[in-house]
């Protein structure tokens, strides 16, 4: 009984991590940037949904669609304004710019909606009965929708033209450009996709934790990032597996060890994996040119 419960809980949290981790992984795969502002996109998505639902009483489904579209456009804008001018100038200045964008988003949202936590009403009501157990609709919906999205994303990257362009750009930026791929458009698309996924993750996160605040993106983003690294950053199946692994590890730590130590366990797993296989579980080992 308890074991199944912890696994389901872990899957729920893990699906959210996986959705966010996909954004980190795709962006890293293409521009080699650890996009620290990604965690704050989650927060923007959460506030956007909350704002539309509570202030303008927009129906939930419409609010979610609006916030996904808004985040996608927002992610593209950030890339265009803050990251593109720096693409040629060294990774560290890009990293610091990402930290700057993260500060900016947190503070602007704090300015607009104050630092107080806001209540986010769970719009998944009722429960689903599978076999002889009851699970809340939010849990089942999170896992199901995430699986559908991940399948769709895999198809997108494997089967469509833009997906092929994404793979080509992450393989070799310059060669892709020489082959006539519009690199700028591909990167914009990647940011839009990643930010849209973050917004979906944000909605599910809010439905299970029912509270939002301007700094919520920090720890959530960091753990999703750990998940991306664990699976092998740049690899999509890796991000999904890493997310679910982190979710289940967290849920087991909470259940069997101590809820205070979850963060330590997550980062401990990260360190062990990095030391044994630095490119992550699914990552490809890049050869070193001498």
């Amino acid at each position: 009984m308890t074991l199944a419960y912890f696994i389901i809980n872990g899957l729920q949290a893990g699906s959210i991590y996986a959705l966010v981790a996909l954004g980190y992984s795709m962006v890293y795969g293409i521009v080699k940037l650890i996009n620290f502002a990604h965690g704050d996109i989650i927060m923007v998505g959460a506030y956007c949904t909350w704002y539309l639902m509570s202030r303008h009483s927009v129906p939930a489904w419409l609010a979610v669609i609006c916030s996904v579209v808004f985040c996608a456009l927002f992610g593209m804008t950030i890339e265009r304004v803050a990251y593109r001018p720096l693409r040629k100038t060294g990774r560290l200045s890009l990293l610091v710019t990402a930290i700057g964008v993260s500060f900016l988003l947190q503070n602007v949202v704090q300015l607009m909606f104050s630092a107080d936590p806001r209540m986010f009403g769970n719009f998944f009501t009722g429960a689903v009965i599978i076999g002889d157990r009851r699970f809340s609709t939010a849990t089942v919906a999170t896992i199901a929708v995430s699986l559908v999205i991940m399948a769709a994303l895999t198809l997108l990257v494997k089967r469509t033209k833009i997906g092929k362009a994404m793979r080509a750009v992450s393989e070799d930026f310059d060669a892709a450009q020489l082959m006539g791929i519009n690199v700028n458009r591909t990167i914009s698309f990647t940011f839009a996709l990643g930010s849209g996924l973050a917004a979906v993750g944000a909605v599910f996160y809010c439905c299970s934790y029912s509270q939002i605040q301007p700094t919520m993106g920090g720890m959530l983003g960091l753990k999703a990032f750990v998940a991306a690294v664990l699976g092998g950053i740049g690899s999509l199946p890796g991000a999904m597996a890493g997310g679910i692994f982190i979710g289940i590890a967290e849920s087991f730590t909470k259940g069997f060890i101590s809820s205070k130590l979850t963060d330590a366990v997550v980062f401990g797993i990260l360190i062990v994996v990095l030391l044994i296989k630095p490119s992550g579980i699914f990552g490809m080992r890049a050869g070193e040119k001498v």
């Binding site: 620290f36 001018p85 690294v229 330590a264 401990g268 001498v290």
Partner: protein
Amino acid sequence: MSGLNAKTPFRYALNAASVAGLYLLLMALIRYRVLNRYQALMLIPIGFNIILAVSLNLSAGFLGQLPLGHAGFMSVGGYAAALLTMNLNMPANVELPIALVFGGFVAAGFGVLIGLPALRLKGDYLAIITLGFGEIIRVIILNLDFTGGAYGLKGIGRKTTVTWVYIFVVITLWTINALIRSRHGRAILSIREDEIAAEASGIPTTYYKVLAFSISAGFAGVAGGLYAHYLSILDPSAFGFMRSCEILVIVVLGGLGSIFGSVVSAAALTVLPEMLRGFAEYRMVIYSLLLIGVMIFKPSGLCGKYEFSLGNTLGGIQAGIRRRILKRGGGVNGSGS
């Protein structure tokens, strides 16, 4: 540049005199109320931010690695120093330096422990693993008893004075500057430029990487000790990932590999949020916009790799004056020299 370059003893005297002069100037400013009480207190955070930034610059700018867990070492040093002063019963001005040095050594020890496994990785992976270690340190402190756990460590006592901060800033700047200019410093720089070539030239790269990393961690620990005795309370949540980011921001903004840049940028970024207080809630927004703006328009940081040297500056002025005198004296002598 000029004749001053050869006169090393003269340069030492010049630097010592300017260090003492600057100290007397600061003291006079405080004494005669040019700086009010509040502004005088601001000198302390400026000081420990300088130490943090310069020490991170050693591993980020000179060694060329990117650690994201500097706040972890700061917290280790801070807790070690604070626990020592709380258990020693000596006059404040005796126990503070002892505690700071102790905190520095404990943090440097952690630097060796973490550096040995972590420095096998490179680039972004090193950044991630140090981030992981930094978070683990924070969670462990949160769950230990003798550190006060989530309530924080209280009643450390305000022992940090402007004088002590000034002394330790000077020690930090002198040590790191001397290290960079030594044989060991050249080994560290060669690892930054090309690790494989350095290894092929017989430089023990692992040894120098761990050395630079742990010295960097040690000074972060000293800064942590100053921080602890400035606030008189330590709270683990103050040493999260955000703090590491803030230190990295100072270093990159000042210019990677420029000690002078780190000093200027640490002072500027400490004072800036206070100066923007007039804009009330907009200040952090302005701060982050400035940060993004500087990075977009000057990605190498405010000072690039520029280093300030009193001797060179004076030498440059002297050479300029000499050139002008020669020019005025007519072409007879001027063309000959």
